[in-house]
Every structure is written in structure tokens, then in C-alpha cells.
Symmetry: C2
Subunit: 418 residues, 2 copies
């Protein structure tokens, strides 16, 4: 029982590169076979631990594990399931520790965003108290890029690249059509609280594209916005709008919540893009097109950033190294050494400083008019979207993404009610 096993789980919304972190963890653990045992992965994230549905990654071929590096989504399944506070449901935490004990798990690698950092922290504390210390290490992952301390979060850079490239392509399209047809193109992007993803649209300015970006950090002012769009269309003949799903009125209501109803009086599910499109049609009369990228943006492994894939993988591998050095209750971080040339290291931050802190766009990254980004923001973004890490394709033209075997370990404990 001297060599402990590890538990790895994916949490929250998945990304184009979260599996690259899984690949890093599993490959590094395999290389340290004498020091660390089997990596068990939670089927559907932390729920897999609570329900003792543990995927035995040692039964996956080296080839399949390597293919995780170029496969988007969460290969083991993820979940949106936040453990309650210790006071409200200590039983959940005790169950986790019981599972870890039953399967001789001494390392807990949790790959997620803010909520999972919090869980990771609590598990580490409680396991000490309960006399079965588990080294809990958080591997950051979030397209929202809103975790503190780390320079950026794996997952974000690939979305930023996808949005910048896609918005550029669509802008070239609308520029072609503007003489007689579409004059405004609107792209809705993710980011309910932080405008990091929307900011990638601001890069288009460097390619002579008139662009208006709507950030969650800037209260929406309809008249000012319409005036900005009108000015750009009058000057350039067309305009691109990149709108964050989190764009909101001064009272906090999202602009996507327009109280729209269908012909039967049912509340209609919005989207910020069609709402903005309607405003423009009503006030300015321009022909427009709109797109909602939704999951396409965060799953777009076909256009991942090379830096993102490298960082996601490296953070996974380093988590094993840090664990074997005895670290616990930490989140791995990307530390930027220089932007030009782009150089970065991996660091660590105590989970006590990470949990429940959200990092918004700094206001000096947003231009004075509130509709674009500053040079400082561009200097931040360009290194992240640098390089293309294409997945391999099959002969038939489809990407060669892997679906794992996902064989479960036999259960040792009684069932637990979730």
C-alpha cells in the first residue's frame, strides 16, 4: 500500500484542450510507475467519485491516451455539480474520502474552474482532519479565463483564436456583400461575467475591420451603441459586432432577456445576437446577419492554439510532478515571463487564495469608448493565440478524435445517494 493511486476528474464546461491536461496527467503518471499507482478517472467528473464509478485509465492503450491531446470535450465525462458547503453536507466530503481510502487514492487531480478549486481546497483540508491525507491539486481549465493569479487558463486561448479567426472570416464576407446586401454581422460569444472571449474580437481592428465589441464589464447603452455602429457603417460600408452573452443593461438584466414571447405567449429563449440584430434593424434599417457560436467555440479543437495545447498538457504533467514532490492544496498557474517572444513557466498558487475569486478584464484592457481593446490587451492576447495545433484527420476528411474504452473499476463500497 505504499504507492498510492490517483484520482482525476473533469469539472464544469469542457474545452478543446481539457483532454490534453488529462493526457499530461496520465502520461506523466505512467512514466513514474514506481512512485504513483493507477490513475482512476471519475466518470462524469466528481459524481464518478461519489457514486464509485471510477474509470481505470491503465486499461486504455498508450495510443488512445496520446490521442486525448488532440480530442476536444471531456473524455471521461464532466458534470455541473457543486459540492455543498462542509456545514451543509459533510457526508459528501466524507464519502469522497471513503472512496479514496477504499481505492488507496492519495492524489486528487481536479481539472476545472472556480467551483472545482473550492472543492479541491475543502477535500484537502478535510482529508487531513479525517486522518487520510489526500494531496489535492487543481489543474485550471476554463474558457472564461476568469481564474485569479494564473496569467491565463487553459481552454481560453483556443476559444480566443477561434473567435478572432472566425470573426475575421465573417467580416471579410460581410465586406464583400455590403454594397447591396448585408452591412452588419453580429457574432455572439461566451463569457457571462468576464469579457475575455469577446476581447478576442477586438483584434480585428488590426486587420482594418470596423468592429464594435460589447463586454459584460461595460453597461450597455443602446443609443451610444447604435451611434457607434452607424458611424462605422457610414465610414467603412459595413461593421462587425462581437457581443458577449453577458452584455447587460445598467440594472443588471442581460440584453438577451428581452421578455420575448412566441405566438402562443410562451417565453422565448433569447440570444444576445438576435436582440442586437433587432435593435439595428429597427433603428438603422441595415441588413444584417447574426451567428451564435455557443459550443462550437469551446469545442473547436480543429483550430486550437498551439500555446493552449502545450500549456494544458504541461500543467497536467506538472501536476503529477508537484504531487510527487509532496505539494498539496495548490492550483497550477501559467506565469508569463515575456510576451515577445512569448515565454512562460509553470508556477503554483495556494488554493486558499484561488477559491471564489473571479478575474474580470482589467479596465485598462478596454478602450475608452468601451467598444474595443487597448494595445495592452492585444499584447496579452496575441501570444496566447499563436501557433496552430491541428488534430490528425482520417483518410475520409474527418478528425481522428478518440472515444475511450472507459472500463469501470469494481465497486467496493455501498451505494451513496447523491
Amino acid at each position: 500500500m505504499s504507492v498510492k493511486n490517483a484520482f482525476y476528474a473533469q469539472s464544469g464546461g469542457v474545452t478543446a484542450v481539457i483532454n490534453a491536461s488529462a493526457c499530461g496527467v496520465i502520461e506523466a503518471a505512467r512514466q513514474q510507475a514506481g512512485k504513483i499507482g493507477t490513475v482512476y478517472a471519475g466518470q462524469n467528473g466528481i459524481i464518478g467519485a461519489l457514486s464509485e464509478e471510477l474509470i481505470d485509465t491503465s486499461l486504455e492503450s498508450a495510443e488512445n491516451i496520446a490521442a486525448l491531446k488532440h480530442t476536444p470535450s471531456g473524455a471521461f465525462g464532466s458534470c455541473r455539480f457543486k459540492l455543498k458547503s462542509l456545514e451543509d453536507n459533510k457526508a459528501e466530503y466524507e464519502r469522497l474520502i471513503a472512496i479514496f481510502k477504499a481505492h488507496n487514492i492519495g492524489y486528487f487531480f481536479y481539472n476545472g474552474g472556480g467551483d472545482s478549486a473550492d472543492t479541491c481546497y475543502k477535500v484537502s483540508q478535510l482529508s487531513e482532519e479525517m486522518g487520510f491525507p489526500v494531496q489535492a491539486i487543481h489543474i485550471p481549465k476554463t474558457v472564461d479565463n476568469d481564474l485569479p493569479i494564473t496569467d491565463n487558463c487553459p481552454g481560453f486561448a483556443s476559444v480566443a483564436k477561434y473567435i478572432a479567426v472566425s470573426a475575421l472570416e465573417a467580416s471579410f464576407d460581410v465586406r464583400s456583400m455590403a454594397k447591396t446586401s448585408t452591412k452588419v454581422f453580429i457574432l455572439e460569444v461566451m463569457g457571462r461575467h468576464a469579457g475575455w472571449i469577446a476581447a478576442a474580437g477586438g483584434l480585428l481592428e488590426d486587420y482594418d475591420i470596423p468592429v464594435v465589441v460589447l463586454f459584460p464589464e461595460v453597461e450597455f447603452n443602446q443609443d451610444k451603441f447604435l451611434a457607434a455602429v452607424k458611424a462605422k457603417v457610414e465610414q467603412h460600408g459595413f461593421c462587425t459586432i462581437v457581443v458577449s452573452e453577458g452584455t447587460h443593461w445598467p440594472d443588471g438584466r442581460f440584453i438577451a432577456e428581452q421578455g420575448t414571447r412566441d405566438s402562443f405567449g410562451h417565453a422565448q429563449l433569447g440570444g444576445a445576437a438576435p436582440v442586437v440584430a433587432n435593435m439595428i434593424k429597427e433603428a438603422l434599417g441595415y441588413k444584417f446577419h447574426w451567428a451564435v457560436a455557443d459550443y462550437l467555440q469551446r469545442a473547436a479543437r480543429h483550430l486550437a492554439s498551439e500555446a493552449d495545447v502545450e500549456q494544458a498538457y504541461a500543467l497536467g504533467a506538472k501536476a503529477v510532478e508537484f504531487a510527487l514532490e509532496g505539494h498539496s492544496s495548490i492550483m497550477l498557474t501559467v506565469e508569463r515571463e515575456s510576451s515577445q517572444p512569448y515565454r512562460w513557466n509553470i508556477g503554483m498558487a495556494p488554493l486558499s487564495e484561488v477559491a471564489n475569486v473571479e478575474k474580470m478584464m482589467p479596465m485598462d484592457y478596454i478602450s475608452d469608448d468601451g467598444y474595443g481593446i487597448t494595445t495592452a490587451c492585444k499584447e496579452y492576447l496575441y501570444p496566447l493565440i499563436k501557433g496552430e495545433a491541428y488534430p490528425p484527420y482520417r483518410e475520409n476528411g474527418m478528425p481522428n478524435y478518440v472515444t475511450l474504452e472507459s472500463q469501470l473499476v469494481p465497486k467496493k463500497l455501498e451505494p451513496f445517494d447523491l
Copy 2:
């Protein structure tokens, strides 16, 4: 005056590869410099001819012309402007011939869909009548893939690849989330009359993705559709829906036209995806996400099909060759020789047989239940999406798309009222 110049114009909605056809025309003409003069390109399509706004492509560097092959959109501008019938507005046709005469243009290369084939045909007829014969050659382009005779239309294959890959990626994403969160992902794609683009979503079946495709060729039946979605979610835990914007009720109304109104009572612009999402929410209660690809799909040069780029280029180059052989009033076609291995030739069809004919999906390409594609359809699609033709990227991570100089030729005629 023995060597005639050429006029090239882009028409209708642009694509990821229409500039590859332009590149083919211009590079082939440059190689035949003794036999064919300057290629003038219409600024904003045929409007550029009517208003005598002719771009002198001879002033563009060889490097910039070569870069057209990897640049999406219409580099010279396109337009949605259909010439009226000869009876209704003969003046427009006479104006075209006058412009061609003034600039010694003997070749008319028109790069577009069904409407432009019709215009091309009329110009060729009228120019004969008027004693200034112009060789009119139509280079097919349409993401809708609805032109007759040709096996496929340049522009379509890249959209098909983009939709198949993007839907696969998003399906992996929803599969990861389905345990506790999103169970249904809905992707809206182009194709108002023909379901070729939606059909690409049917390929996902080969990757163990439960998918329901909604075609414009199949009348929408809400109860049957919801039952199909429910069955797939119950069996697989999740489901992907690819819905064509042209999906319609038996009475012909598009499902996107739901008569929705915002809180001010204004008619709300729809999208088929949110309408389908609402149906699922109301009837089945599944958590869902939806995306509308819109321009992203047709502009996505970053994921173009290699076959598509090659064909678009080859058809442009061949148009020059056919013109110099004396052909006129033809559309170039792709002739499929074999699917495995994929072999194709370039042929030609008389414009009289092309104009005003729309090619729908054959019913034997759609599965019996109306929600998927058959083996025959897969055999048709796979060769088209084969191979990746990536654009070059700049050091900073953005694609190196070109914007041309677009210098206009001095005008020789009086203005013309459009």
C-alpha cells in the same frame, strides 16, 4: 485590338473558395498573356460592370493574386443584384455590352450560382445580336450545392466539412455534459431550399453520435420529431440536431417564422435553432444549447476542404482555357469519375440547360425516417470533404488573408443609372 481583355465578376453569397476560382482565372490568363489581355474584375460584382468600376487585376502583385487561393470571401466584392429580364430592362444588358466594347472585353467569366448562370446566358445571346460577341463562361459557386449537371459546386464541400467537423466537436462536448447538464445540442445551418449542407450533419452517425437532421426536403412534423429526439436521448443520454434554416411546415411556412414578438410587440427575428430549442424545452424539458453558424460556415477558410480548393482553382483556370478554345455560353462542371478513390474531371454544360434549374437532395439520399442520410449520400459526401487545405498563418496567430489594392481603370463612358 486583336487580343481581347476579360471581365471577371463574383455574384451572390460568397464562399471560402470563390477567391480560389478568381486566382485560377487570373493566373491562367497571366500565363496566356499573348492570347488574352487584362483581366478586369467587377467591383462588387456585376454592378461594377454597369457602373464602370473595373478593378485592374494586372496591377496586383503575383503574391497577392496567389494569396487569393487561401483567402475567403469575395476579394473584389460581390452583390445581390439580378438583372431583370431582357424584356423588362434591355438597357442593362446593352450597358454591359457597351462597357465590354469600350474596354475591349471579349471574355466574360461570371462566378456565381443560378441567377448568374441566367445572366451569363443572356449576355452571351445579346452580345451576338448586337454584333459584339462576348464569350460568356459561368464558373459555378454556391454553398447550397443546388446547380444542375455538375456533380458538386465549389464552395459547398468546405461548408460540408466545416459543419461535419463542428457538429462532431460540439456533440463530443454535449456527450461530456449530458449526465447533469445539456442533453441536446442544436446547430442551425444554411440551405433555404436544398438540404445538402444539413446532410453533412448526417455523417455524425458514423462516429456513434445520435443525430437528427431536419431537411427542407422533408415537411416538418413536430410530434414525430420530438419522439425521435426523445428516443435518442433515452438510448444514448444525449442528442445532436442539425436543422436547416429551410425546415418548414407542411403549409410551406419556415419553422423559423414563429410570429414571435418582443416585449414592445415588435416582430422578432427568428432562427430555426431557438425555435427547435423551445419545442424541446416545452415538450421534453431537456437542457439544451443551440448555435447558429450563419456566415461562419461559408467563410470558414480555416477548415476548407482540399478537394474544394483544388476544384475551385481548377475551374477558374479551365474557364480561361475553354474561352481560348472558343467556347461560350457554358457552365463548367465537376464530373465525378469515381468515389473511391475520388477522381474527377472538368466538363462543361450548355448554359441553356443550367439556367433556372435547382438541384434538390435526391430522396434516396435521405433515410426512411427523414432524419438522416443513406449510404449513397455518405459515398457522395466523404470524397468532397477529404483533405485539409489550411491557409498560412502569421507569426501572431492570425491567418494571412489578403486584401487587394483594387485600383480602378479610368472610366470611358457616361454614368449609368442603376
